[in-house]
């Protein structure tokens, strides 16, 4: 009798492992109008050949457009980094991590600098965009994102960190048109000249696209306030 109970217990455990133990609420079949649950996302990477660029005046008076989001403004500069000869790790929930290829551009305005808290060092408002490609070794799996935040020189004056948030604005393969948001922390070792070592860390979430039309309201601070009709 005891062995039968043990066998039943183990068989139940085996069944649970095969189907995956999920919260009860996860078994509720979603209808077309429901929003899929988001998954946590962790990604990190190293870059060994980052470099700084700007929109500088050249010898003939032309402005060299070195940064994607600078419009001929020499006070705008940028930092490029990618995983070439570096590394990239991508993980969804507690699944096995996979590799990724990544690249990022951060543009910042020296015009908008503020003191960083340590004298003579500055913080700059920054924004940019990036790509995460070849997720899991498959060229089909990609994500793109935009980011905004603040780039600051650290107290020792030699390094920089970027504190920002990201919003996923595109995806393919396993992540078609996925959405998501989270934080980005960049650590940039050293300053000019080039060949800058840097690291990137994403902490956030990812979710399939919401059904269309989106059930979420789109706030518009510039929209005129509707006047109630009597």
């Amino acid at each position: 009798m005891l062995n039968r109970i043990k066998l039943l217990f183990l068989a139940t455990g085996l069944l649970l492992m095969v189907v995956g133990v999920k919260p009860v609420i996860a078994k509720v079949k979603a209808d077309d109008s429901s929003v899929a649950p988001s998954s946590s996302t962790l990604a990190r990477g190293t870059s060994v050949d980052g470099y700084w660029s700007d929109d500088a005046y050249s010898w003939n008076g032309w402005i060299t457009n070195g940064c994607s989001f600078c419009t001929g403004d020499p006070s705008c500069q940028c930092f490029y980094s990618d995983s070439t000869n570096g590394s990239g790790i991508f993980q969804v929930n507690i699944n096995q991590y996979t590799t990724m290829i990544w690249s990022q551009e951060l543009d910042y305005s020296t015009y908008g600098l503020t003191t960083s808290g340590s004298l003579w060092n500055a913080c700059y408002p920054a924004s940019g965009e990036g790509e995460i490609d070849d997720i899991g070794g498959s060229a089909a799996n990609t994500l793109t994102y935009a980011t905004t935040g603040q780039l600051c020189v650290t107290p020792d004056g030699q390094n920089q960190t970027y504190t920002g948030s990201y919003i996923i604005d595109g995806g393919t393969g396993l992540y078609p048109d996925y959405q998501g948001a989270g934080t980005i922390g960049d650590a940039i070792y050293g300053r000019l000249p080039s060949e800058v070592v840097s690291q990137i860390q994403f902490n956030g979430n990812i979710v399939p696209p919401a059904p269309s039309p989106s059930p979420l309201p789109t706030p518009s601070p510039w929209a005129a306030v509707a006047t109630p009709t009597p």
């Binding site: 455990g13 492992m17 096995q96 503020t114 003191t115 808290g117 070849d134 934080t183 690291q199």
Partner: protein
């Protein structure tokens, strides 16, 4: 004690299933990485702590990056002493005890203040340094970091710091540490508190060599 052959068979089947599923939920979509990273690997780290006696020094006298007689420079000081706590987790391993210190400096003049939607609350760019001592194990491993971000008043009179960190150096296992990530501090007090107050710190990021 007699063990049924059926029990043994069931246990073996369960172990086999666990190996085949790689210990993942059945919904796992990810594949095992088939491309090895070329650079030395980085590892996920998570650290958190609580301090019971965080304090602001708005005179700047004890702040590492405030010049003497500065009128607008101040700092927030916090550590795990006097009953504070700290935990450090490396690459999803077991949590180990951590002691830590953090200093966040800021210059509070009109030009550096960033207004918020609350008239009495502002954000200020801030930068600082800190050290963590991983006290578990046979040797003490330590890491030094720098951080930059924004320190802000909350609407209810508390303070938060939202920043990123960069690993500088360390000792023991982290002698050549590099890394980045987010550093968040929640302080249950503000610059007007003369006595120490509770605050919490959270690191989420990576660490490499």
């Amino acid at each position: 004690m007699k063990i049924s052959l059926k029990v043994v068979a069931a246990a073996l089947a369960m172990a086999l299933a666990a190996m085949m599923s790689n210990g993942q939920p059945a919904l796992a979509k990810s594949s095992k990485p088939d491309v090895l990273a070329k650079a030395p690997p980085t590892f996920l780290i998570s650290a958190r702590g609580q301090s019971n006696d965080g304090i602001f020094d708005d005179t700047g006298e004890t702040c590492a990056y405030c010049p003497p007689d500065s009128e607008n420079c101040g700092c927030f000081l916090s550590d795990a002493s006097n009953g504070g706590t700290g935990y450090f987790q490396f690459n999803n391993g077991a949590q180990t005890p951590l002691t830590w210190t953090i200093e966040i400096d800021y210059i509070n003049d009109g030009s550096s203040q960033i207004p918020t939607t609350n008239d009495s609350a502002v954000c200020i760019p801030a930068a600082g340094v800190g050290t963590g001592f991983q006290t578990g194990g046979r040797q003490v491993n330590s890491f030094d970091f720098e951080t930059t971000g924004q320190i802000c008043n909350t609407t209810n009179g508390y303070t938060t710091f939202t920043g990123s960190y960069i690993m500088d150096e360390g000792s023991g296992n982290y002698a050549n540490a590099t890394g980045s990530g987010s550093l968040i501090i929640g302080a249950y007090g503000n610059v007007d508190n003369e006595a120490g107050f509770m605050n919490q710190v959270q690191f989420t990021g990576n660490l490499g060599q």
